[in-house]
């Protein structure tokens, strides 16, 4: 039971309350981290119809694994790991499906929805970012999503992706090369 305003409660109290069956506490967790998850999922899948489903799966998986959360890492890192894993699984799944049943390329795997953005200039900028990200190799896409959309440092990116720092640095460099090539075509 939380004896203070839910929005002011820290993650630890909200997790304990959620484990005790307090759905309002879990609702606060979802609302606290939904934008973070949206940036990862939509950054990697595009603003597609699948992004919302994966986003929901992230929080459902979180709910079912709360009892395993030991508090050694921050809750945001834990959620981010779930989001990255589920999104990469979705990319693999769609890639397998389309390689078996369709001639569509990887960039056409998702049906894009028109983002709800207020100005033409922002819409164009969002389109460039979205198109460039979707054209990238998934292993580079995840790196650029963590850096450019989430603002994580190289060390934080390595921790979330469970990769050695050297691997992340090498992928950053290769991602930059690939991005240069892609952006020239846009």
């Amino acid at each position: 039971m939380i004896n203070e305003p839910y929005n002011a409660a820290d993650d630890g109290k909200l997790i304990q309350a959620s484990l005790d069956g307090d759905t309002k506490a879990f609702d606060v967790i979802v609302n606290r981290y939904r934008k973070m998850v949206a940036r990862t999922v939509k950054g990697m899948l595009g603003d597609s119809v699948y992004a919302e489903d994966v986003g929901q799966d992230v929080f459902i998986k979180l709910y079912h694994s709360l009892q395993d959360f030991r508090g050694e890492a921050r809750l945001s890192t834990y959620i981010q790991k779930i989001a990255v894993n589920l999104t990469l699984n979705e990319i693999k799944r769609r890639k397998r499906f389309f390689s078996t049943f369709s001639q569509k390329g990887n960039n056409e795997m998702y049906e894009y929805e028109v983002p709800d953005i207020d100005t033409q200039e922002r819409r164009e900028a969002a389109e460039i970012v979205n198109k460039a990200l979707q054209a990238m190799d998934p292993k580079f896409r995840v790196i650029i999503t963590m850096r450019m959309l989430q603002g994580y440092s190289t060390k934080e990116t390595a921790e979330i992706l469970d990769l050695p720092l050297g691997t992340v640095l090498s992928r950053l460099s290769r991602a930059q090369e690939q991005l240069k090539t892609i952006l020239k075509k846009l």
Partner: protein, 117 residues
């Protein structure tokens, strides 16, 4: 912000010496905030409340099984078609005896094979 400027910022975000949090702020300001549609948390909680969603891990397994099934099914159907064609070419028909490899034999030769007389 024009197109070339956003491209420059994207490339800058991957520089090792860049401040990623600063870049992320600029990108969010210039491209708009990314979020799910309104009512997202309600939909998550509604899914959690569904008895079927308690076994959400099984959904992943079932999805994977669907893909595996289609792959096996396509290969299996191709193998069956090839088998039928080869039986038809060798036996000249697709009768039940052809499947068992009994066409073109007579009772006497079967008795001989079984008894040696």
């Amino acid at each position: 912000m024009n197109a070339s400027e956003i491209k420059r910022i994207m490339l800058r975000s991957l520089d090792n010496d860049a401040d990623p949090s600063e870049v992320a702020e600029i990108v969010e300001r210039e491209t708009g905030s990314v979020d799910f549609k309104a009512g997202f948390s309600d939909r998550v909680l509604a899914k959690l409340a569904k008895p079927g969603m308690a076994v959400v891990r099984e959904v992943d397994f079932i999805r994977s099984m669907n893909i595996v099934f289609y792959r096996i099914a396509i290969t299996g159907v191709a193998a069956i078609v090839l088998l039928l064609i080869s039986i038809f070419l060798m036996e000249g028909s697709l009768s039940f005896n052809s499947f068992l490899g009994l066409s073109g034999t007579n009772d006497d030769s079967i008795v001989y094979l079984l008894t040696g007389n």
